[in-house]
């Protein structure tokens, strides 16, 4: 979870993280080494958030793995293919940046006709 928390500065579900890392390691035998590589870059920059160290991640397998970890947290799958194992739907981060307006389909947060035609500014960002 350490690398996840550095790459994604949001509330992360540990159970989801554990399951995804097991599945990712099966697909990518070098995962553990790559995570160590990313962590050492991050520590070298005293990074607390991804912007502190991401520019220093070299193109190639390290960057691909970093982006794959971020993508998995946002999409809730490791690869978006027909038989993919789904690790998260309601907690997939992709729904969070618009959570103040857009419903997560099948998870209504409203009541009968409980919505309006007004929307908050685009510049708002929900906290998550």
């Amino acid at each position: 979870m350490e690398i996840s928390r550095l790459l994604v500065s949001h509330r992360l579900n540990e159970e989801v993280g554990r399951r995804m890392s097991v599945a990712m390691a099966k697909l990518n035998p070098s995962l553990a080494q790559q995570i160590d590589g990313l962590l050492s870059i991050a520590r070298g920059k005293n990074a607390r958030v991804v912007e502190d160290f991401f520019d220093d991640v070299p193109d190639g397998p390290l960057k691909e793995t970093a982006l794959a970890i971020i993508s998995a947290w946002y999409l809730g799958v490791i690869t978006d293919a027909p038989d993919a194992e789904v690790f998260a739907y309601e907690y997939a981060l992709m729904y969070q940046p618009t959570r103040d307006v857009m419903t997560i389909p099948s998870y209504a947060i409203s009541g009968p006709n409980g919505w309006t035609d007004q929307a908050p500014p685009l510049s708002d960002m929900p906290e998550f």
Binding site: L75, P82, M94, T98, M102, T103, P105, S106, N113, A119
Partner: protein, 548 residues
């Protein structure tokens, strides 16, 4: 001779048409047996299926939460290879007949949008007014009371303000049972933009409970998941009718695939034969039969049933069974916008522009319905932002921007009936050994001309009015899942399969109600019209059975 019938009325198909007829027949004191090719399922199972799909299957693959049983195949679209398995499609616009219906008890209303427009008086007189297509064999005043009964039977919410109603020149004998569903921010902005270029976006009458419970089902709470499934049944689907049918003594046999309609002396229908999942055949008799398994499965079954008396298929002395296949050929435009539109608030569809369906131009090219799609665009925005390799705050901001500042616009055209748009029996057989349906489809010059000179330019104007910075039109016509025409209605047995009550001209105890009977496709969603035709057929059937 003592005849031991399985029921007074046998209904093949448990979609909205079959279920309404079953309910009307039971209320008239008749016994009813329903045969459904596919399984009964619980709503929670479909919701779980949906939530466990990967993101790329949660949108646009509306059949994905409904894996078909081997004995009742329907379209699957997870891969191109899978897509080619069941429907054998040919012709220049084969892609536009990739119909996504569901062979489950409850039928395609499981995943319909719930939009319930009435057709206009002009829609019913294309031949007389514009010299194209066919006229309906009755006028709007005749179907109006059936529209009203349909609206109350399935629970439609719509505006009481006549300036917001459609048709603009139609008389309504009763108000909508429930008031309109409120717009979200996207529909509000879209309505204002469209009005500036004389496209009037009206709140859609829809089969969604608005503000109140109706008929034992709760009010819509904005799950924004109407397709593929309403988690709470606030949207009408025929699956909710099944327990009511059983409570009144109706019998429903699931996993019963009817493969043959048997005729007898005087060419009356004697029985239907069905396979169970063990491939055993069973024979079921009745005084009267209703085949309502949708606009593809019904003509397919009639063609499969050819015999010595009916060498071209049951009910097919006109040679029109399976011909005149129609739908609304659809084009979509993906837009990127300068300012947010915001979808994902309320139902996935809640309004449409219909004034573009009417006019003198219909003698030259098709009218069409326009709308914005209101499904939540968050997964699309996220996928696009992630592809850009963004991270951190920049990723979140771009997800929000691409979710809010993009849109899909849809236009659905009116196609004319053509004898060449035809369903036949393919040489390929399914798991039970039944021929798969083969369909040839060409949208025709009437539609292509409309796209060239009318609808695509109007889409571009609409996009400009919305402040679009990018506009991407779908490269080909697509399906709208409104299957019509294959058992076309008319007064003349030589040119029509069914009469004005959807009774087969060739067989007085066979009814074929549904989209297949519609003589004109119009540019709007067909379900309410099918439902009205179902109720009209039900009246005719019950009168016929009561009075011998």
């Amino acid at each position: 001779m003592v005849r031991d019938f399985s029921a007074d009325v046998v209904v093949v198909g448990t979609g909205v048409v079959g279920c309404l007829i079953a309910q009307q027949s039971l209320d008239a004191g008749l016994s009813v047996l329903m045969l459904e090719a596919g399984p009964r399922v619980d709503r929670w199972r479909i919701v779980e299926n949906f939530r466990n799909l990967p993101p790329s299957l949660r949108l646009f693959h509306w059949n994905a939460p409904y894996p078909p049983k081997p004995w009742a195949p329907h379209l699957e679209t997870r891969t191109t290879k899978e897509q080619e398995q069941y429907l054998q499609l040919e012709g220049p616009n084969a892609r536009a007949y990739l119909q996504g219906y569901v062979r489950y008890a409850g039928g395609a209303t499981w995943h319909w949008a719930g939009i319930c427009w009435r057709i206009t008086p002009e829609d019913m007189r294309l031949k007389s007014l514009y010299g194209v297509g066919r006229d309906w064999p009755f006028n709007h005043d005749t179907i109006e009371p059936y529209y009203t009964r349909a609206e109350y039977a399935i629970g439609i919410s719509g505006p009481s303000d006549p300036t917001l109603q459609w048709p603009t020149n139609g008389k309504r004998s009763r108000p909508y049972p429930m008031g309109p569903i409120p717009f979200g921010p996207g529909e509000h902005r879209f309505t204002e933009a469209a009005a500036r270029i004389r496209m009037i976006n009206l709140p859609a009458p829809q089969a969604r409970n608005s503000g109140v419970a109706y008929d034992g089902r709760p009010a819509c709470c904005g799950n924004n998941n109407c397709f593929p499934v309403c988690p709470i049944a606030a949207k009408y689907d025929a699956a909710t009718a099944l327990p009511k049918i059983e409570a009144k003594g109706g019998k429903i046999l699931a996993n019963a695939v009817v493969y043959r309609v048997e005729t007898g002396e005087k060419n009356s229908i004697e029985a239907v034969h069905y396979f169970d999942p063990d491939r055993r055949s069973h024979r079921v008799t009745a005084r009267l039969f209703v085949i309502a398994c949708n606009g593809i499965e019904t003509p397919k079954l009639l063609l499969l049933s050819k015999d010595e008396r009916n060498p071209n298929g049951v009910a097919n002395s006109s040679d029109q069974v399976g011909r005149n296949m129609m739908d609304q050929p659809k084009l979509t435009a993906e837009l990127e916008l300068r300012e947010p539109l915001w979808t994902g608030v309320g139902p996935v569809q809640s309004s449409s522009i219909l004034n573009t369906t009417q006019g003198e131009f219909r003698s030259r090219h098709a009218g069409a319905m326009f709308r914005m799609e209101n499904f939540a665009r968050s997964p699309l925005g996220a996928a696009a932002a992630l592809k850009k390799g963004l991270v951190g705050k920049a990723l979140d901001a771009e997800i929000r921007r691409l979710s809010a500042c993009t849109a899909r616009l849809t236009v659905e055209h009116e196609i004319l009936p053509s004898a060449n748009n035809r369903l036949t029996l393919s040489g390929q057989k399914d798991w039970l050994g039944i021929n798969k349906p083969s369909i040839y489809y060409d949208v025709g010059d009437y539609v292509r001309q409309s796209a060239r000179e009318y609808t695509v330019p109007r889409l571009q104007q609409l996009a400009a009015e919305l402040g679009a910075t990018k506009f991407q039109l779908s490269p080909q016509f697509l399906n709208s899942d409104h299957i019509m025409g294959g058992c076309i209605m008319g007064t003349e047995p030589a040119t029509a399969v069914v009469d004005p009550d959807c009774r087969a001209h060739d067989h007085p105890n066979l009814f074929l109600p549904g989209g297949g009977a519609m003589p004109s496709a119009t540019a709007s969603n067909s379900t309410l019209t099918m439902t009205a035709l179902a109720l009209k057929a039900a009246d005719a059937m019950t009168n016929q059975l009561r009075h011998g």
